[in-house]
């Protein structure tokens, strides 16, 4: 019973730790999805309110007509910066690597639409039934500065099938697709994917975090297809040292006024949704729950140990009667408590491993939503061309789904062993307190 009490306490601590670790991993996934691998800082520029104006798919002919349009645009509300800004950032002290990228959304619209005067904002309700109808589909596209540095939305290390871009392919019609997009659309190396009405050859498939872009194309190609010229929407920056990130962010802000400079720490704070809730739960409530459970488990173990000593009153009384000093009896009880603690620790670690596996197996996906200032992730999704106001409204948030796992951190097993020993000593101390107060005459107590 004593060992079981300790085991439950240790098991609970490990479970909470594993969950917290899983949440942290999930957060890391989300941040990578938005941020790019190895990136410490991102620089973006948002459209100044009032200057965006209505965005359209182009001049629609008047009157009801069949249309089919495909556009490749930056995320709503997001503006561009000249590529020379990338060089400016790269030259700042504290910058290790700076790469530019275009975060775009390819939106297709097809069907029949009613006539309207150009410039008039249409209804945002998609008509249905027998009346005018059209369908919209979109996928996310990242223009990637070809680099082996690994900084940016896609690096060579993420390739699972095929290959990464070569430096000679900056303006060629090639693409790399995410494994999930490839599965959804039955794409493989050698297939063709259409971006902005242009067929691109798939040269590789990459494993990217959930929520990252669907299609990756060379930056030059992206600039050509989107018509954005020598511009980027995002600058991905890697600092020379983690301690310099904050200072570098300030420097970039000075060098590029009017831009939004965000660090991974800022982004993490902007995460909301169930992932954030679970994160807060795991880090605050979960920690307290684990501490409380541990204290209660140790107290229960201690009381059970006292009860165990009380049941063995004749045994310990006998040891005192045959000349054992109280100190020697206390040592005996402490040693037994320690042994029980170790047994409880082993059981607790097994319980923790089992619980961690169960959580990983059954845990639902968690959502993470990001604020509007992080436009790197603000992919258009539905919006895009139905007027700036509507587009910007949608740009306010982005939700990413991640699967929660509960990996047991290796260091926690060591801590669990230490806790088990502590628990055993606590239990032993309770028992010893009881044993030390036993009169040797207790040995004469007769058992009826």
């Amino acid at each position: 019973m004593v060992a079981l009490g300790i085991a439950i306490g240790i098991g609970l601590v490990l479970t909470v730790s594993a969950t917290a670790s899983g949440v942290k991993t999930a957060q890391g996934d989300v941040l990578h999805a938005l941020y790019g691998i190895g990136t410490d800082i991102t620089v973006t520029k948002t459209v100044t309110p009032g200057t965006g104006g209505p965005q359209q798919f182009g001049g629609f002919p008047s009157g009801s007509t069949q249309i089919s349009r495909e556009t490749l645009r930056p995320a709503p509300g997001q503006s561009t910066m000249p590529s020379s800004d990338v060089s400016k950032v790269a030259s700042l002290p504290g910058t290790a690597v700076a790469t530019g990228g275009l975060v775009l959304t390819d939106t297709s619209l097809s069907g029949t639409i009613p006539s309207f005067t150009p410039g008039t904002r249409p209804s945002t309700t998609v008509p249905s039934g027998s009346g005018p109808s059209f369908s919209i589909s979109s996928f996310s596209v990242d223009g990637v500065q070809i680099s082996t540095s690994g900084v940016g939305p896609l690096g060579p290390a993420q390739m699972t099938v095929g290959r990464y871009f070569t430096s000679a392919e900056n303006t060629t019609h090639v693409a790399i697709v995410s494994s999930s997009y490839a599965t959804q659309n039955s794409l493989k190396v050698g297939s063709t994917v259409t971006v902005a009405g242009t067929a691109l050859s798939v040269i590789g498939i990459a494993q990217v975090a959930s929520g990252a872009a669907d299609v990756y194309i060379p930056l030059g190609t992206a600039q050509n297809l989107s018509g954005l010229g020598d511009n980027v929407t995002t600058i991905f920056v890697s600092a020379t040292s983690a301690t310099k990130v904050s200072a570098l962010a300030s420097e970039i802000q000075k060098a590029l006024p009017g831009t939004t400079v965000s660090t991974s720490a800022d982004l993490a704070q902007e995460v909301t949704g169930s992932l954030s809730s679970v994160s807060k739960l795991a880090t605050s409530f979960g920690t307290w729950l684990a501490v409380a459970a541990l204290v209660v488990a140790f107290l229960i173990a201690g009381l059970l140990m006292m009860a165990a000593v009380s049941r063995r009153v004749q045994e310990f009384g006998t040891l005192k009667a045959i000349g054992w000093r109280t100190r020697r009896v206390v040592e005996q009880v402490m040693a037994e408590g320690l042994a029980l603690g170790i047994v409880g620790g082993v059981i607790g670690i097994l319980l923790g491993i089992a619980a961690s596996a169960i959580i990983s197996a059954i845990a639902p996906s968690l959502s993470a939503t990001f604020g509007p200032s992080y436009a790197t992730g603000g992919r258009a999704g539905f919006g895009g061309g139905f007027g700036g106001g509507f587009g910007r409204a949608l740009a306010g948030s982005r939700t990413v789904l991640v699967h929660l796992t509960a990996p047991l951190p290796g260091g926690m097993v060591g801590i669990a062993v230490a806790l088990a020993i502590a628990g055993g000593l606590v239990a032993g101390a309770f028992g010893s307190w009881r044993a030390a107060r036993l009169r040797p005459a207790a040995a004469l107590r007769r058992v009826e």
Partner: protein, 253 residues
């Protein structure tokens, strides 16, 4: 207060061995408080026990027999009075000093044997040598010799649950004897045994007393056991009575 004792069975020459008293108890009192009531377990006991004497303590249940044995063995402190053991007053000794005396001078045998159930017969006997920090190989050897003496040489690896009541009591006696005590104190040592085993255990105790010159004090209800003692101290109402011989003492019970 009257002290009563009789010498009815001079099994050996007591004149030399009783020259010095093992115990001299003077007005020993032991009171307990339970539910705000004072229980006078011992209420002015005066008693002298000679070295090498075999004394039986008899009396009705709850009259202080075991309390007296506890005090004789340094297991309990008296509320008042003096208990001289070889010139040292047990009433004034600290627990550490009493533990040392229990380890070296006193051996105990209990009605319920009080063996540690998770230890073998040999390990139970070795437990009595723990206070001496005896090296384990020597401890094992001495435990084996003690068990051999009591006819249990072939049961040393057996656990208490694998032994009969008589065998368990013999292990307990071996545990008491392995350290070479001066006094053997037995609390109803045959209380849980049938007649045959009772006779066997009493024979063992009597043999050890005779052969080793021990002072043997046995608390017993059993008149058959008491008759084997040199002297019977009858305790009633927390005091020792009966100066007569065995027959008279037994009739009073």
């Amino acid at each position: 207060m009257t002290i009563e004792a009789s010498t009815a069975k001079p099994a050996r020459d007591m004149r030399d061995r009783a020259r010095v008293n093992a115990y001299e108890l003077t007005d020993v009192r032991r009171y307990f408080t339970k539910n705000r009531q004072t229980i006078r377990a011992l209420d002015g006991v005066d008693l002298t026990i000679a070295r090498g004497e075999f004394l039986a303590i008899q009396g009705p249940t709850g009259q202080g027999k075991s309390t007296l044995l506890s005090i004789l063995g340094g297991l309990d402190h008296p509320t008042a009075g003096r208990i001289l053991f070889e010139g040292r007053d047990l009433a004034t000794l600290h627990e550490v000093e009493l533990a040392e005396l229990r380890a070296t001078a006193f051996g105990f045998a209990f009605q319920t044997f009080n063996l540690i159930p998770t230890l073998t017969a040999q390990e139970n006997v070795e437990a009595a040598l723990v206070p001496f920090h005896t090296p384990s190989d020597q401890g094992r050897q001495r435990a084996k010799e003690a068990l051999d003496t009591l006819g249990l040489g072939d049961r040393i690896t057996h656990f208490p649950s694998e032994l009969s009541g008589g065998e368990q009591q013999r292990v307990a006696i071996a545990r008491a004897l392995v350290k070479g005590p001066k006094v053997l104190l037995a609390d109803e040592p045959t209380g849980n045994l049938d007649e045959q085993m009772r006779d066997e255990i009493v024979g063992v105790l009597e043999g050890l007393w005779r052969d080793r010159g021990l002072t043997l004090v046995v608390v017993t209800h059993d008149s058959t056991v008491a008759r084997r003692a040199q002297r019977i101290a009858v305790i009633a109402g927390g005091r020792v009575r009966s100066p007569e011989g065995h027959d008279t003492a037994l009739k009073r019970l």
